[in-house]
């Protein structure tokens, strides 16, 4: 493609936007609303996932070991657990009987050993591994694996916690896909409508172009540029608004609701935008491109 033709196409695409000013503004506004909603939804989902992940990282399987194992056997067992083939392990801590007892005294008797007297026997031979998984949905496989290992006496797990978290993650995934699909469809429909109007306004011009030997690309180019530009503008505006809003909201919630500090850790705006910015722009431009292509395919036999 020659440079002059490229700039001509670009210029005509911009002119198309100005010619159908009201439709273009409506499309940009709706596209912006869609991307804005997508951005809000994405931020909420990422923060929710962050909370779930924080909870997940606290879910552990406790594997009690036989009391007669040597230190060497314990080390070997730990290595076997860490390198198991069924679940990725984020942390595997060995806890001696003394440490387990101290933990009970600290947590349940406020550090008062006298009060805890008498319970010590119940915790004899309580050496165990606290095993944390990267993905709690692999918990049941890990438990089966641990139960089959020599030297493991008993395995305790919190099946309900793992199931709830796995289900929550799955639900978030499904809802995300559904909402994104709806937003994309709405936006494609709107861009398609704008380009459609552009085509009907310029039907005569297109007919002339075809008669004097314009290629398909020459005819389609300005409409594609129009769609892409609408998509681009319609995504840049909401992304910029979201960026400044997100920081303000985090600051506001942090200031006003201190009691949420332990439960809620917000993902920093830069981490969110590392994904949201390129995805938002690609979505906007992609929807613009697809919307105009679909319409051109339907209405222009060039």
């Amino acid at each position: 493609m020659k440079i002059s033709a490229f700039f001509y196409t670009l210029k005509q695409g911009c002119k198309n936007i100005m010619r159908n000013k009201m439709f273009s503004i409506a499309s940009i506004a709706t596209m912006a609303a869609c991307i804005f909603m997508f951005g809000i939804f994405y931020s909420v989902v990422i923060n929710f996932q962050n909370v779930v992940q924080n909870v997940e990282s606290g879910v552990a399987v406790t594997a009690f070991i036989d009391g007669d194992l040597t230190d060497e056997q314990i080390d070997q067992l730990q290595q076997e657990i860490e390198n198991n083939p069924v679940a990725k392990i984020s942390k595997c801590d060995f806890v001696t009987a003394e440490e387990a007892w101290q933990d009970v005294v600290d947590n349940y008797f406020d550090g008062d050993e006298e009060m805890a007297e008498g319970f010590e026997e119940a915790l004899a031979e309580s050496e165990h591994f606290d095993i944390y998984m990267e993905d709690v949905s692999t918990q049941s496989e890990l438990v089966s694996y641990l139960e089959g290992l020599d030297g493991i006496r008993e395995v305790n797990q919190s099946e309900m916690a793992a199931n709830v978290l796995t289900d929550a993650n799955r639900l978030i995934g499904y809802v995300s896909i559904a909402i994104i699909a709806i937003l994309v469809c709405v936006a494609v429909f709107l861009i398609s409508n704008t380009v459609n109007t552009g085509i009907s306004v310029r039907k005569e011009e297109i007919a002339i172009m075809k008669l004097i030997g314009a290629t398909d690309f020459f005819v389609r180019g300005p409409f594609i540029v129009e769609g892409i530009l609408i998509g681009l503008i319609g995504s840049v505006i909401p992304l910029a608004v979201l960026y400044s809003l997100y920081e303000k909201i985090i600051g506001y919630v942090g200031d006003k609701f201190h009691f949420l500090d332990n439960m809620l850790t917000f993902v920093p705006v830069n981490s969110i935008f590392k994904i949201l910015l390129p995805v938002g722009l690609i979505l906007g431009v992609g929807i613009g491109y697809i919307g105009s292509r679909v319409t051109l395919h339907r209405h222009l036999n060039v």
Binding site: M1, K2, S4, A5, Y8, E204, E205, A207, I208, M209, K210, L211, I212, G213, A214, T215, D216, F218
Partner: protein
């Protein structure tokens, strides 16, 4: 240059718009196609522009069989044919210069050649001074001149004119026909579809007469007897 071999076109099965038409037009000829409404004149122009496909028969333009020109190559084929219509088909929101330059942009001509060719062709059609005017500011004859300039700026070998004087008064119609004759004298093959028998009779060119889709006469130096 233009050959039709047993060409028929039916829009509705059994009702031919063109019926077994065969003719040959040599390079550099000036030919009138005449006939009543519904005689098949416009269908012939559409077939030559490959806007329509014939139901049967063969069209050969510039030694190229049209049936073999695929969809992708139609634009390149059309660049060798200039066309002018009764309703001018100018872009109303652009001035004279831009309307003519538009044809050059369509073929991806460089800005440099546009700046060179457009004024030259506007001088040829006598509109160099009005290059900034919008079509609405021009007379019918002037608008048709712009359309002719646009058709010629890419230097096509063939110029098809479908009722080019249909919307013009007698004086302007003559001016346009003189311009077409001048273009023909420069080597372009010109095919004019018209109703205007005064002009046809006066110009003494080849005349092909169509009636109900059939060629009923083909005369060199044709025209009705006075």
């Amino acid at each position: 240059m233009i050959t039709l071999e047993h060409v028929s076109k039916e829009y509705v099965e059994g009702v031919p718009a063109l019926n077994d038409v065969s003719l040959n037009i040599e390079a550099g000829e000036f030919v009138f196609i005449v006939g009543d409404s519904g005689s098949g004149k416009s269908t012939m122009i559409k077939l030559l522009l490959k806007e329509l496909e014939p139901t049967s028969g063969k069209l050969i333009i510039n030694k190229k069989e049209l049936a073999k020109v695929n969809h992708r190559n139609i634009p390149y084929y059309r660049r060798n044919i200039g066309c002018v219509f009764q309703d001018f088909r100018l872009l109303k929101d652009r001035n004279v210069y831009e309307n003519v330059a538009f044809a050059q942009r369509v073929i991806s001509a460089s800005n440099r050649s546009i700046k060179l060719n457009v004024p030259k062709i506007l001088s040829l059609v006598g509109l160099a001074a009005k290059y900034r005017s919008k079509p609405s500011e021009l007379s019918g004859g002037e608008q048709q001149r712009v359309a002719i300039a646009r058709a010629l700026v890419n230097e096509p070998k063939i110029l098809l004119a479908d009722e080019p004087t249909g919307n013009l008064d007698g004086h302007n119609a003559w001016e346009i026909m003189k311009l077409l004759e001048e273009i023909n004298e420069r080597g372009t093959t010109v095919l004019v579809v018209t109703h205007n028998m005064d002009i046809v009779n006066a110009m003494k060119k080849r005349v092909i007469t169509l009636k109900k889709g059939v060629v009923v006469s083909d005369e060199q130096m044709g025209g009705e007897e006075e």
